[in-house]
């Protein structure tokens, strides 16, 4: 093989240098080097994020948007600059379209309660797919219960793929909203979202994408996706927990009533009449997670410092390697075999329950997720109570995946 020719396609990704920016990756677990393969649940933080939060806490903290003193102005500046970075990061037209929330879950609930609840009537339909995370099922069930609307579920196939035709067949004149995952957390499937968004738009259906698993792996641009709402979490994209973003098209956000009442979301308050603040503050009642937003802004900068095409190519190579070495293990079945996946492998091993597997891997220093991944309908579909899920980030290595495979083989020997 001509390595020069390869290099022309993708400069090799220097994951050794990247790993050095993540202090936790040099930890030992039970006497073994940590192999962190649970990035789908929460990714680790680079120094850039840790230090940005630390500097904020040490030097700049005060409440935002009200004080005239220096610290308040510094904190406000840092908080609002983070919003600007996030707007640029996902291609929002305006900073007013970036609402800070606790995470993807809160973003989806905000849309359910503020956009959907006042508009839905009995007979209206909310369309989702079979592979959704509970956070993109339950808020819609709740709003359907509140309004008398009906929840409609588009099917997936045995590979864990959602076919656009099958979804389009369920888009009717009664469909008011279509909400789906950009990437499935339990299976890794990348959904055909561009086509789905276009199909929904042609029919006048408002759209929401759950981007929690997409943002860490794909370059997300809400304009080219064509969605109305896009929700994602900071901690899955190497930022802090407790902070996330709801993107919404400004025209929609303008028409939506506030979700929560309180400070910061008002212009004037009297006992007779309260006037609401402008976007984005209308949806940010109360003192927000300021340090979290600052950390998330730093995570965006960190992404910008990466060679993203090379990082994505490395993740693809990790996925191919994982499919290869896990596929060689007898009695191991990969759950989720879509043609287009992010770097994540869900699997079961006959005779070894995922929870036992998780404990045995932990003894070898390997962190994976085991369970239903908050996607019980997916587990039901594949007739498994739970799976083991190894989810990779650009800082993972081929050697870590080899250790995963060796540890799975060891578990089989123990139990079978």
């Amino acid at each position: 093989m001509n390595s020069n020719a390869l290099r022309e396609v993708h400069a090799p990704f220097d994951f050794t240098a990247v790993r050095r920016q993540f202090p936790i990756l040099s930890r030992e677990i039970r006497g073994k080097p940590l192999a962190y393969l649970d990035n789908g649940a929460s990714a680790q933080r680079p120094l850039a994020v840790i230090e940005a939060v630390d500097a904020y806490e040490r030097r700049h903290h005060a409440n935002i948007h009200r004080g005239v003193h220096t610290l308040s102005q510094e904190a406000t500046g840092l908080f609002e600059r983070a919003r600007d970075r996030l707007a640029a990061f996902i291609g929002a037209r305006s900073r007013n379209e970036i609402i800070f929330v606790r995470g993807t879950t809160e973003g989806i609930n905000l849309v359910a309660q503020s956009w959907a609840r006042p508009l839905l009537h009995p007979g209206d339909e909310v369309l989702i797919t079979h592979l959704e995370h509970h956070a993109n099922i339950v808020p819609w069930q709740m709003v359907c219960e509140q309004t008398g609307a009906t929840l409609v579920v588009a099917p997936m196939d045995e590979h864990g793929e959602v076919h656009a035709e099958a979804v389009e067949a369920l888009m009717t004149p009664r469909t008011r909203l279509f909400a789906c995952a950009h990437v499935s957390n339990a299976l890794g499937t990348v959904l055909p979202v561009r086509r789905l968004m276009a199909s929904a738009r042609e029919r006048g259906i408002v759209t929401l994408l759950d981007g929690a698993q997409a943002v860490p792996h794909l370059s997300v641009d809400v304009q080219s996706l064509g969605c109305d709402f896009y929700a994602f979490s900071g901690h899955k994209m190497f930022g802090p927990t407790g902070i996330g973003v709801l993107y919404g098209r400004e025209a929609l956000l303008e028409r939506m009533p506030p979700w929560q009442g309180g400070g910061d979301m008002i212009l004037t308050v009297s006992f007779e009449k309260t006037t609401y603040n402008a976007l984005p503050h209308k949806f940010e009642a109360g003192t927000p997670n300021i340090s979290g937003a600052v950390g998330l802004g730093a995570a965006v900068d960190f992404f910008a410092s990466l060679d993203l095409p090379a990082a994505h190519a490395h993740e693809e190579a990790l996925l191919a390697h994982a499919h290869r070495v896990l596929g060689d293990i007898p009695q191991l079945r990969v759950i989720g075999t879509a043609a287009h996946k992010v770097s994540l492998v869900s699997f079961i091993v006959t005779g070894v329950h995922p929870h036992d597997l998780g404990t045995i891997l932990d003894a070898d220093g390997i962190a994976i997720r085991t369970g239903h991944h908050c996607a019980m309908p997916v587990m039901e579909y594949f007739r498994v109570p739970a799976t083991a899920r190894a989810s990779f980030a650009f800082y993972n290595t081929f050697e870590e995946i080899d250790r995963l495979a060796a540890s799975v083989r060891h578990a089989r020997q123990l139990f079978v």
């Binding site: 329950h353 929870h355 045995i360 239903h372 019980m376 109570p385 739970a386 139990f415």
Partner: protein, 148 residues
């Protein structure tokens, strides 16, 4: 803490070949246990005569710890009175959760579960069957047992 302390031979054996596996029809008491964190499901059915557990079976799906714990439990409580079985649960609970628990020789094979207390995330796996037993004994009335 070695893995072998958790997955002792007794546990592995009862996982591979669970004792008293199945469903009693009819049953004098039954209950379903469910662990929403991991999806483990356990159905217990009991025959009770003169306030004594004369027979007990379990069915369901779970990890090695939960399967072995259920299997060991059915062996341990068969023949015991209700009160005696509940008292045994209290001793097992100490074994699973109390780091300072003195070795309790009356537990017999159940002592093999002591490794669980080093793995807090797994305590629920071992205790699911016991909580289900308490529910069955306290209800007394037979519930519908689904074998799916």
């Amino acid at each position: 803490m070695e893995l072998a302390d958790l997955y002792r031979d007794v546990i592995l054996d009862h996982n591979r070949q669970p004792r008293n596996f199945g469903t009693l029809v009819p049953a004098d008491a039954s209950a379903r246990g469910f662990n929403p964190l991991c999806g483990d499901r356990l159905d217990l059915s009991l025959r009770i005569a003169d306030d004594r557990i004369t027979d007990i079976r379990f069915d369901g799906q779970g990890c090695a710890i939960s399967t072995a714990s259920a299997s060991l439990m059915t062996e341990a409580v068969k023949g015991r009175s209700r009160a005696d079985a509940l008292a045994l649960f209290a001793r097992v609970h100490r074994l699973l959760t109390d780091d300072d628990a003195a070795p309790d020789e009356s537990l017999g094979k159940l002592a093999a579960l002591s490794g669980v207390r080093e793995y807090p995330a797994r305590v629920k796996c071992a205790s699911l069957c016991w909580h289900t037993l308490v529910a069955a004994l306290k209800s007394g009335e037979p519930l519908a047992v689904s074998t799916e």
